[in-house]
Amino acid sequence: MNKELEHSFVELLEKHQNIAHKVCRLYTNNLDAHNDLFQEITIQLWKAYPKFRGDAKFSTWMYRVGLNTAITLYRKNKRRVNTQDFDAVQFKIKAEDYDDTEEEQLKLLYKAVHQLNDIEKALVFLYLEDKNYREISETMGISEVNARVKMNRIKTKLRTILNP
């Protein structure tokens, strides 16, 4: 039974692992920290898996556990001090799709998102993942109206960062 559970879990996570990687991308800024957080998300998902009911989508369920781990459960490792420019080094955007200004703009945007606080990052993450405000509010435990208000503030904040 336990083996079956392990097998089904690992298979599902292998398939959906990008969700966890995306969370790590927003909350960490070097590969070591990324892997550390990914590891912790995996453990938290696995611990919660016996209670996972098939009626919720595995991916939806992953958003919640992944964000909870990043915001609340994960203990940031203080040993590492080197921070590298994130996207430029680790996850090189495939450059042929972009012209220079677009790429420059994206770099600035990713950098700006990295400067947001943990809660703002969570909202941005869900927004980028095309979640609607109901889902955002359910994941964060705030009202839909407040989620909307906060998103607008974040948009303004990012706009000012881009056009000072």
Binding site: F9, N35, F38, Q39, K47, L109, L128, I142, V149, L158
Partner: protein
Amino acid sequence: MDGLDILKKDWQKDNTAYPKHSYNEIYKMILKKSSSIVKWIFIISLLEFVFWTLISFFLKDTKSMQRFEQFDADTILIPLAIIGYVVLAYFFYIFFRNYRTISATDNAKVLMENILKTRRAVKQYVGFNLIYLVIATVVVLFIEFDQDQQLINQAQQASANGDVFKFYATIIITTAIFLAIAIGLLLLFYWLVYGILLGRLNKNYTELKKLEV
């Protein structure tokens, strides 16, 4: 198009080269131990319960306490001890009950609240112990003055020399300083441990609460 939508367009293209873990790599990961703050809170809280229980046992075994037991003070000491154990049991139960409600599948706010609630039970227990420490010290001091022949003799001696005020003042001030140092050290310890452990959680919880206003 505003900044976030440019970002979203790029994000949705999903052309980022994320690491790709194999089945075996993920399997190895689930065998590893978590290092989440919940685990640390659990360990530290248990240590706190053990620490305070041990303290009360050690105090009982000291020479002065054994001498103390000869005094006629059971009517005060036994209820004090019983209260101590009942309160320990109560807070331990609350702590466990709250700990079991912590679940990574709750929404972010509920998860934070449940963690903070678990901590609160331990915090209240520590607070109780500090107050208990002060009350017990005062009670013990009263009984000593009332029944310890050696101390009574010293007091009479001081009284005969006209130093009675100095005599009592020295004892009370020494006790107060000792208590203040002990409590100060404990509070410093808590401030450091929980500042490190819960600082980020408190910050994020405040941020979420702020959205509600």
